[in-house]
């Protein structure tokens, strides 16, 4: 007990001080453009935030981004895991290549996508479209959210794939054979044996990805800077833009506190869901 105290103390300090400061700043008037305006503001900052025309779009964008990326990575990851589980020559190399995007840092991958793939003039996508006689698309200008979802999914698909692939490898092959003898075809084996086996791993992927996807920032900053308009502004980027572009630390802190609350609500449900499924599996 006593020996754990330093570790617990450091963790507490680490967490409580920034959180406390954020709560404090969210309750005072603190604009760098208007340093004379000081004092306790109550929930004024929260009210301003709520009335900010970019707040609701940011919440919706966050949900759309997280939801879409989760759907793409879990669906795609499962499909890839099933695909890569079949034996074929060079499978180990292929697995390594499939995982590779995960090791690219977000800023780099965003820049690669922005300048080398999605760019309407130099991009590979534009070249591919023109090869089949179609006009190039200005991805980041025309469909910024879709582009962003593509970039982030590309980054997180390897993670989902890796977790699900490993889980699939731990499936007792006899179970699949038993299902085949019971008369199950490929689709039924997938539905009744593979998918239930992957359920826990999918839970882990959803939990971990959600926590990271809620705070996506670098990709937005390097590609669209939250625009055009508010179309790719999520909560994390909104907090940044309020605090460091509009220099209103108070409102920015209020946004940060809301994001913390939101993340905690999500984490609470996910952890509970995961815990029950772990208990069932034990």
């Amino acid at each position: 007990m006593l020996l754990q105290l330093p570790a617990v103390g450091v963790l507490l300090f680490w967490m409580v001080v920034p959180l406390g400061l954020a709560v404090y700043f969210s309750l005072v008037r603190y604009s760098l453009l208007n340093p004379d305006l000081r004092g306790f503001a109550g929930f004024e900052n929260y009210q301003y935030l709520w009335e900010d025309p970019s707040f609701l779009p940011a919440v919706i964008n966050t949900i759309v981004l997280v939801g879409s990326v989760l759907a793409v990575t879990v669906g795609g990851g499962t499909a890839m895991a099933v695909l890569f589980e079949r034996r074929f020559p060079g499978r180990n190399v292929a697995v390594l290549l499939a995982i590779a995007p995960f090791f690219v840092m977000p800023t780099v991958s965003a820049l690669v996508w922005k300048n080398m793939i999605l760019h309407p003039v130099y991009g590979v996508a534009a070249r591919a479209l023109s090869l089949v006689g179609l006009a190039p698309i200005d991805w980041l200008g025309g469909c910024p959210m879709l582009s962003l979802i593509m970039i982030v999914s590309w980054e997180w698909l390897p993670f989902a794939f890796l977790v699900l692939y490993t889980s699939l490898k731990s499936l007792d092959p006899e179970q699949r054979e038993a299902a085949r003898i019971d008369g199950a075809g490929g689709a039924q084996v997938f539905l009744h044996v593979i998918l239930p086996h992957l359920r826990r791993a999918i839970g882990v992927v959803v939990l971990v990805e959600t926590i990271f996807l809620l705070s996506i920032f670098a990709e937005i900053y390097t590609t669209t800077s939250g625009g055009p308009g508010h179309s790719t502004t999520n909560l994390a980027f909104l907090v940044y833009s309020l605090g460091l572009l509009q220099f209103d630390v108070g409102i920015g802190s209020a946004g940060g506190i809301l994001a913390v609350i939101l993340a905690n609500i999500v984490a609470f449900f996910l952890v509970r869901m995961l815990a029950t499924s772990l208990k069932q599996g034990a």
């Binding site: 054979e177 085949r180 003898i181 008369g183 009744h192 086996h197 599996g281």
Partner: protein
């Protein structure tokens, strides 16, 4: 277990050919990966299994018995040969179309389904009516004593119960042929004996053909109508348990069946003073055993050739009865008293032996023992081919 209350697996009236299994030239070769030579798992197995027969495939690990079973099940594609089940060639058919059911070593239950759903899964896939499914599952669960746990998940069951669910899942399919792949190897010794009896009872009641793979010779001997001993992908001998024990066709079967295994001594057959002798063992004073009666007749053609003499540990005696040959005194290296009998591992100047003798005397390591070898219990094998030359114990009435 309860009295049978289910329709017979045999078709009414006509010949029960439904469960006949015939393997012809069945072979399986796995292609070598990355420059390795291809692995031959099964090389040309011919085997006929009668309808309703309990056939045990037994052999050391890697002998191809499981691969053979998996080819019958349709889980492996044979490289060559044919498989007929009930007179129908099933090579290329899906497992579900073969009229078989399989019980796996690790039970292979569906962990997320209740026991009821585990049993019902195959029937549901076959699109049976839910009423019929409920009735079949309940009846099978009743036979296996699983009614109380139908709603439980497999991980809440004991090993024996899981094995029963796996059995039940096979039974509800009402197959012509049951396939067992070492189903008892994950159970503890006591449970294994109990499940062994239950499977035998199940066979007696259903009268379906059963093919049972095991590496445990006790399971093979106690359960099989006939036993197929395999080694290195080939069949060594197919016979009923007693024939296998009394008349092993070759050195491998002689050494595999029986515990401790048959003593095998290498040597030559020599003719001296109008009689044949087996001379074997190492050292300046070799073992010299006279061959008598029919065995001497049979061995005459092998005179001067290398041979292997076999004698079962349980046939060596301390006090002679009938025609016996007194072996030179040997030292006890290890004594294993089990109560009713003791197993002695002995060493003499010419080599070593194991003997199973009555347990009324306690032997200690270092004791000197003189054993008698009954001349009418000898097996002789050709040292080059490994095949049996003959035996004096053949055809003897059981003691």
């Amino acid at each position: 277990m309860q009295a049978p209350d289910r329709p017979s697996a045999l078709p009414a009236g006509g010949a029960p050919a439904k469960g006949a299994v015939r393997l012809r030239g069945l072979a399986k070769t796995y292609p070598g990966e990355r420059g390795h030579a291809p692995t031959v798992a099964v090389k040309g197995v011919d085997l006929e299994i009668e309808p309703g027969e309990f056939m045990v495939l037994v052999g050391p690990s890697g002998c191809g018995k499981s691969t053979t079973l998996r080819m019958v099940a349709g889980l492996e594609e044979p490289s060559a040969g044919s498989i007929e089940i009930g007179g129908r060639d099933v090579v290329g058919l899906e497992p579900k179309e073969r009229g078989i059911a399989m019980v796996f070593q690790n039970y292979a239950l569906y962990p997320h389904m209740s026991v009821f759903n585990n049993l019902a899964f195959g029937l549901k896939l076959a699109k049976r009516k839910s009423e019929e499914i409920r009735e079949t599952v309940t009846r099978t669960a009743g036979v296996l004593g699983l009614e109380a746990v139908l709603h439980r998940k497999p991980n809440a069951l004991s090993g024996g119960q899981r094995q029963r669910v796996a059995l039940g899942r096979a039974i509800v399919r009402d197959p012509a042929v049951f396939l067992f792949d070492e189903p008892l190897s994950n159970l503890d010794a006591k449970m294994r004996v109990q499940m062994r009896a239950e499977i035998s009872q199940l066979h007696a009641r259903l009268r379906s053909t059963m093919i049972y793979v095991t590496h445990d010779q006790v399971e093979a001997m106690t359960m099989g109508d006939r036993i197929c001993v395999m080694n290195e992908g080939a069949i060594m001998q197919v016979a009923d348990p007693l024939t296998l024990y009394r008349e092993p066709a070759n050195v491998f079967v002689a050494g595999f069946i029986g515990s401790p295994p048959m003593n095998l001594v290498s040597g030559t057959i020599q003719g001296r003073a109008a009689a044949l002798h087996f001379v074997g063992g190492q050292g300046p004073e070799p073992l010299d055993i006279p061959l008598e009666g029919t065995l001497a007749e049979i061995a005459r053609g092998h005179q001067g050739r290398p041979a292997v003499l076999g004698i079962r540990p349980e046939h060596l005696v301390l006090t002679p009865a009938g025609a016996c040959h007194l072996l030179p005194p040997m030292t006890v290296e290890l004594a294993e008293p089990t109560g009713a009998e003791s197993i002695l591992y002995l060493r003499g100047a010419w080599g070593g032996l194991s003997a199973r003798i009555a347990g009324d005397r306690l032997h200690k390591t270092g004791d000197n023992v003189s054993l008698h070898l009954p001349l009418d219990r000898i097996h002789l094998f050709d040292a080059e081919t490994g095949l049996a030359i003959g035996r004096t114990s053949a055809g003897r009435a059981p003691d």
